[in-house]
Amino acid sequence: MKERRLGGETPLSNARPEPGTGPGPGPAPGSGPGPGPAPGSGPVVGLTKGQRSGGPRPGLTNAVLGGAGLAAFLALCEAVPRLGIVSADFFPPTSRIADAFVAELGDEAFWTALGDTLTGWALGLAIAVTAGILAGVVVSVVPYLRQATASTIEFLRPIPSVALIPLAVLLFGTELRSVLLLVVYASFWQILIQTLYGVQDVDPVAEETARSYGLGTWARVRHVLWPTALPYVMTGVRLAASVALILAVTAELVIGAPGLGSRIAVAQTSGAVPEMYALVVVTGLLGLLINVGARTVERRALTWHQSVRGEVAV
């Protein structure tokens, strides 16, 4: 829900009506209730300039620091097994994982597994998103349905989706449908809850305006409810995307449905340790890609909305 943070750098500042926004105290440099950086941490030059305290230089420094951190991490992972602190049998040095990684990339079976995982992930996510949004809108729009379903939703949501694993195994074996069952169950709730919250956020004034102009239920859903709920839904999609990956890999790992997860399980049982690490790294990169991608889509889709929400959130 990072769009919420736009109202101010320091979230608690949003908790109050901002004092002194009138013609009162001017934006004295380094002061004022604005997004003041910690004293001395950066220049604050007027209001417009002041907001961009992370100019090009700090950004560059951060990138350098981040790169250094990453390099240090990789070097540490190389050094620990080489120095014999941890046995290389359990924890192969970075270079050997990298070799295995490259070897994986040349293996056709790897790409098939990756494709399987992505299929399960994407299909499951798509079903969950569709179902979650539909259910969310219906539950919100139909009178009394929200109250009537609240307790049930609260009860079903915390049920761990992995509880369904034995059922999935019995019903579908190692088919894709096993993966889908787990993925859909887990990500559905994320979407549903976010949609409900989004609809709840509808401005009553806008809603009443729409009613007074005689807009029907469908028109109101389309023009008032949906635009308001969209940011929440996008957040839900982002959350669901990571959850879906976790469950897709879990299903493959535990049930044995084809995919990266089962490939990891195979590598583990056959003692191919570097390959296993390489595959774990692949799932990590995949997760990273999904996170970054979902965040980018979220931000792109909502640029128009953020300024509005920023004001509302103050």
């Binding site: 004092p19 009162g24 105290p25 004295a28 440099p29």
Partner: protein
């Protein structure tokens, strides 16, 4: 005689991203023990920067701040600050009583009983003895600022710094709080440095008013407020002398603004 608080040649320059902004140029003034001094200046003239330098929250670029003859390099123990943003200055997870007590806990010389006493006294003198068990966000804005003042009182500071403390409360509350500050100052013989952008407030409250110029800030004028010590909202504000003084300060500030506009580019 040594001043309680002496600011000399204070300069603060913000630098970064290839830009250099001189917020405070060259400020020199002093505050004597038991004085109530108001700093007033046009919007955006670096009042808050100045106050933060005095409080030791910002390191000045040049010049120095002396408290009881000792150079201020970090927040000194004998100073308390009341911020404008009461909502962000009080800790919302603590009850009023604990908010007031927390700074006292850092003073190891105080016994638990003495702390309680100080807290109760301070809340009593701002008229909030009943609210001790409430959370700050359960109170109105004016009451929250009273809590912040009580916290400063209980701390028994050598100098109390107030940074536009009433800028965010409504007009009537503001009048009450101004009288509260006057009363506390007289009862307790405190030393207060009060920063405001409100000319009337500065004249009404202060024994002395320092008029600041527009940024980069210098002291435009020091003005002794020769109003009687006994002041009240009703009579003081309509007194001819009050009108004269506020007109004078107003003119000074207008001049300060004009001055900054016509001054040479380097200034």
């Amino acid at each position: 005689m040594q001043s309680l608080l002496a600011v000399s040649g204070l300069q603060k320059v913000y630098e970064g991203s290839g830009r250099r902004v001189e917020a405070v140029r060259d400020l020199t003034f002093s505050v004597e023990p038991g004085e109530l001094v108001c700093l007033v200046g046009p919007s955006g003239c670096g009042k808050t920067t100045l106050l933060k330098c005095v409080a030791g929250l910002l390191a000045p670029t040049g010049g120095e701040v002396l408290l009881e003859g000792r150079r201020v390099s970090g927040p000194p123990p004998g100073m308390a600050v009341v911020f404008q943003e009461y909502g962000r200055s009080l800790f919302p997870w603590m009850r009023v009583r604990d908010n007031v007590e927390l700074p006292l806990k850092q003073k190891s010389s105080l016994s638990r009983a003495r702390r309680r006493e100080l807290v109760a006294e301070a809340l009593e003198s701002v008229g909030l003895a009943d609210a001790a068990g409430a959370y700050p966000w359960q109170l109105s804005g004016g009451m929250q600022q009273r809590v912040a003042i009580a916290r400063a009182l209980a701390y028994e500071p050598g100098v109390l710094l107030m940074d536009e403390p009433f800028a965010a409360v409504d007009a009537q509350t503001r009048a009450d709080l101004e009288d509260l500050v006057r009363r506390l100052w007289r009862e307790r013989g405190m030393t207060i440095l009060f920063v405001t952008h409100d000319i009337d407030e500065a004249v009404y409250l202060g024994e002395r008013v320092l008029v600041l110029s527009a940024s980069p800030t210098v002291v435009q004028e020091q003005l002794k407020i020769d109003l009687p010590a006994e002041r009240d909202q009703l009579h003081t504000r309509v007194a001819p002398r009050f009108a004269e003084l506020r007109t004078h300060v107003y003119e000074q500030i207008q001049a300060a603004k004009r001055g900054s506009q016509v001054s040479d580019p380097a200034g």
